[in-house]
């Protein structure tokens, strides 16, 4: 048993020992399948043998009965012949010595003849012959149909006659055909009186008649009795119906003998319906068993193949699932955890056994983000989870927080019914941290780059301006030197003063060039929908706001009239003000970090208000707030608000601020409505 099992085990991939699928049973060995076949074959063979034996026994029994019957029949006939012989011997002297049998005093003889000719005896006629062989009389009286005397020579009767006289005992003649399709034979009984032969009594038997009389009804019902001559020709039969069965028995017909045979044929062997039924039902049953067995085997094979395929598929999925770095967790419709993969367990630090079956709040939900987590949770269960996933702050077992990107998809069972939610979770804290670092780095870099660029520009400008100024200064000093020494040459002085003037002009040109350079970034005015611009600005800073935990409340007035403005500049101002607002709230408790953004129309102006909940602006800062290069921020350039105000003024608007009741600052940015 062990060896085949082992060999078949090799082919079966062993699935990882986790979760639902049971170990597929090893394929049974091949010989396993021959067992039922062998059993069925053996069973059929046994049944067939049993039936055959029964059948044979039946046939034997039938044959025995037949033989018995035949023997009985033969004996019956022999007995009859003997009795007739005796009667004829008794009648003989009376018939041969009596003068006239027809005389009235011969009544007793008549009666005895009559008795002898009883149909039961089988005799149809009695003749008596004298010692010379001449017919002395006959009963029934002799007719043309029967020839005695001369004719005895012709017939086999003469031979019988002579033989009986010689032997002195009854002798049966050969059978001979007579008209009317009859066959007759005779028995010659020699009669002696006082040792002297006085004649013979001849009894004529009709074979046909004898068959008719001597065979009892029950016998003829069961068998066909016929007599055949030595050539095998049937000369008489009890029934004309030819038998079907081959079961027959033939014995010599003695005493007449002389080649006659008594043939007894059973009409028809009894049909054994029960055994036949049994046999056929057995056959059908066996066939059904074999068929069903074969079907079962095919089914089993298919099932096994399917199981194997399922097993390997399961193993494949399992391996895939386990190798994932993405945490997977399934929940039912109530939010109960029904499954977690190893990556998920690694991420949160709880084992699958601990997690499965838990209902919210989960142990890995960060307490400080509980409200939001619940919100996300109910959003998912409500089927409103965004397809790009939700970012959520979770907690490992050791209390470490991490940011996870959660993507949920409905879990559909085989019937197409939703049974829960499957979520994949990716730890994005590292990614976020890296992004954050990169962003800060980038910002710092940009700030530095701006500073460097500005420094470069300032430096170039300084050098360029320095040149004419230095020249002027040198000319000037030279002139002074000349005056001091008193050797003043007027022409020389005039030339130098001209040169000084030229250099002064040159310096002016440089300054004009710088001015022109600055003016190159002039605003491009177009019709602007203020609300749309504000929304766009909010869109730009939203990721930053999310990161800082600042909520932006938008309260935009509807159907504002259009303004003529440079949308990029307006956006720049809005972004700047929002950023400032968020910066101001960096030390405000998270729950209060709300930035309110409103737009409204007031006396021909559109006013954008940005209100924060920061520390407010101390008076000494307020004074210098719009001054260039003034900043309260470590990385600031001190240009933001300055530029904002320049932009506001460029649009013939204003930028003002005021303290917000309840803490914080409100910045108002107003722009005139287009007059057209």
């Amino acid at each position: 048993m062990a060896a085949p099992l082992q060999s078949s085990d090799k082919g079966v991939p062993q699935p990882v020992n986790l979760n639902p699928l049971p170990n597929p049973t090893a394929a049974p060995p091949r010989w396993y399948w021959s067992l039922p076949y062998a059993a069925v074959t053996l069973f059929i063979a046994t049944m067939a043998a049993l039936l055959w034996l029964t059948h044979r026994q039946d046939a034997e029994e039938q044959r025995a009965t037949l033989i018995n019957d035949v023997l009985w029949m033969e004996q019956n006939l022999s007995f009859q012949f003997e009795r007739n012989d005796a009667q004829l011997t008794q009648l003989g002297p009376n018939l041969l010595t009596g003068n006239d049998v027809h005389s009235p005093n011969e009544g007793t003889i008549q009666a005895r003849l009559k008795r002898a000719l009883d149909p039961e005896s089988g005799l149809i006629r009695i003749l008596w012959l004298d010692a010379g062989g001449k017919v002395k009389g006959a009963e029934p009286p002799y007719t043309e149909s029967h020839l005695v005397g001369e004719t005895t020579d012709v017939f086999p009767s003469s031979a019988a006659y002579r033989l009986s006289r010689t032997l002195g005992r009854p002798v049966y003649s050969d059978a001979y055909a007579v008209i009317d399709n009859q066959t007759h034979f005779e028995v010659h009984v020699p009669i002696f009186e006082g040792g002297r032969y006085i004649g013979s009594v001849v009894g004529v038997y009709s074979v046909n008649g004898m068959l008719a009389r001597q065979v009892p009804w029950w016998f003829s019902e069961r068998y066909r009795v016929s007599i055949t001559n030595n050539l095998g020709t049937e000369i008489a039969a009890r029934s004309k119906v030819s038998p079907v069965s081959t079961l027959a028995y033939e014995i010599p017909f003695e005493p007449p003998g002389h080649g006659l045979n008594l043939v007894i044929t059973a009409y028809k062997s009894e049909v054994r319906w029960i055994s036949l039924l049994l046999m056929s039902s057995l056959g059908v049953l066996a066939a059904a068993i074999v068929w069903s067995l074969w079907q079962l085997r095919r089914h089993m094979q298919r099932r096994q193949a399917a199981e194997q395929a399922l097993g390997s598929e399961h193993a494949f999925r399992k391996a895939m699932e386990d190798s994932l770095n993405t945490g997977m967790r399934a929940r039912d419709m109530q939010g109960r955890i029904t499954y977690v993969n190893p990556a998920f367990c690694r991420m949160v630090g709880w084992s699958a056994e601990e997690l499965v079956g838990l209902m919210p709040p989960m142990p890995y939900w960060a307490p400080e983000a509980l409200d939001r987590t619940y919100e996300v949770h109910s959003m998912i269960l409500g089927g409103n989870a965004p397809s790009q996933g939700v970012e959520i702050r979770l907690m490992r077992r050791d209390g470490e927080r991490f940011d996870a990107l959660l993507i949920e998809a409905p879990l559909i069972d085989a019937n197409g019914r939703q049974i829960g939610w499957m979520g994949s979770m990716v730890d994005v804290s590292d990614q976020k941290r890296t992004q954050e670092l990169a962003r800060q780095q980038q910002e710092r870099l940009q700030a530095t780059a701006r500073l460097v660029t500005m420094g470069e520009m300032a430096s170039t400008l300084a050098h360029e301006l320095n040149q004419p100024l230095a020249a002027i200064s040198s000319y000037n000093t030279g002139c002074l030197n000349m005056i001091e020494h008193g050797d003043l040459s007027q022409t020389e002085l005039t030339g130098v003063l001209h040169k000084i003037g030229k250099q002064a002009q040159r310096a002016g040109q440089i300054i004009r060039r710088v001015h022109g350079f600055v003016r190159r970034s002039e605003p491009k005015f177009e019709t602007v929908d203020l609300d749309a611009t504000i929304r766009e600005s909010v869109g730009l800073v939203e990721p930053d706001a999310d990161r800082r935990g600042v909520a932006i409340d938008l309260d935009l007035a509807e159907a504002l009239p259009p303004i003529l403005a440079d949308p990029v500049m307006i956006e720049q101002v809005a972004v700047n003000l929002i950023r400032n607002g968020m910066d101001a709230m960096s030390s405000t408790p998270r729950s209060e970090r709300r930035l309110q953004l409103t737009t409204r129309e007031h006396e021909g102006m559109l006013i954008v208000t940005v209100a924060d909940r920061g520390q407010g602006i101390p008076p000494e800062v307020a004074e210098k707030l719009f001054a260039p290069f003034f900043t309260t921020k470590e990385e600031g350039m001190g240009m933001g608000l300055n530029i904002c105000r320049s932009i506001a003024e460029l649009h013939r608007g204003r930028l003002t601020f005021e303290a917000r009741p309840g803490g914080g600052t409100i910045f108002n940015f107003s722009l005139p409505v287009t007059q057209s």
């Binding site: 230095a470 000093t477 030279g478 040169k499």
Partner: protein, 205 residues
């Protein structure tokens, strides 16, 4: 010894024509002869080792910068004092140059007469150096007149040894030493060993 070349000049190297012209004018009003060069390349092409005077070098120029020019001059063994003119923010560079042997630097905008003062000092320094070099050339000429034996004697005299010791070391008679000694004094134009030592002492200011 070409007289015009030997005349000390303040060489002004600046790519700005107005500055060159203004400085030339300024120097002239203080009786300083100057020559102006529009670029470092032009100046280097004309430079000759026997020039006297000083160099006023603008650090920031379009092509070759003042510092590169200074390095090139150092390689060529230039002895002219170099005064750098620096713009705003070039001070660290100028300090580096000072360490390499530049004479001075002035940050623009500078007091023009202060610049002229520095230039005059540089010119004087150069002149002194030139004179030194000439003296040394004279001494070398005097030394060349001495015979090998006289030179041996002179070395020992300079070390401060007595005639008797010199005679022992050179295995000659004291009388011969005295003869050599008087010849050396005569040829070198000195009257005592102290004067001889002063004449030969190197790096005198």
């Amino acid at each position: 010894m070409n007289p015009p070349l030997a005349t000390p000049f303040a060489h002004i190297v600046d790519d700005d024509e107005a500055v060159r012209d203004a400085l030339s004018w300024l120097f002239r009003t203080r009786k300083v002869e100057s020559r102006a060069w529009p670029s470092a390349e032009d100046f280097l092409a004309a430079w000759r080792p026997d020039w006297r005077g000083c160099i006023v070098l603008d650090i920031r120029m379009r092509e070759m910068s003042g510092l590169e020019c200074f390095d090139a001059l150092l390689e060529r063994g230039n002895t002219l004092p170099v005064i750098f003119l620096t713009g705003h923010g070039d001070v660290p560079m100028a300090v580096g140059a000072l360490k390499k042997g530049a004479f001075d630097f002035l940050e623009k905008p500078f007091d023009d007469n202060a610049l002229v003062d520095v230039v005059i000092r540089a010119l004087e320094s150069n002149a002194r150096r030139q004179a030194n070099q000439e003296t040394q050339a004279n001494v070398a000429g005097l030394l060349a007149q001495l015979t090998p034996r006289e030179q041996e004697v002179m070395q020992l005299v300079l070390v401060g040894k007595f005639n008797k010791v010199i005679a022992d070391e050179l295995s000659i008679s004291m009388r011969t030493v005295e003869v050599h000694r008087s010849r050396v004094f005569e040829k070198m134009g000195v009257r005592s060993a102290v004067e001889l030592a002063q004449l030969l002492a190197p790096g005198r200011d």
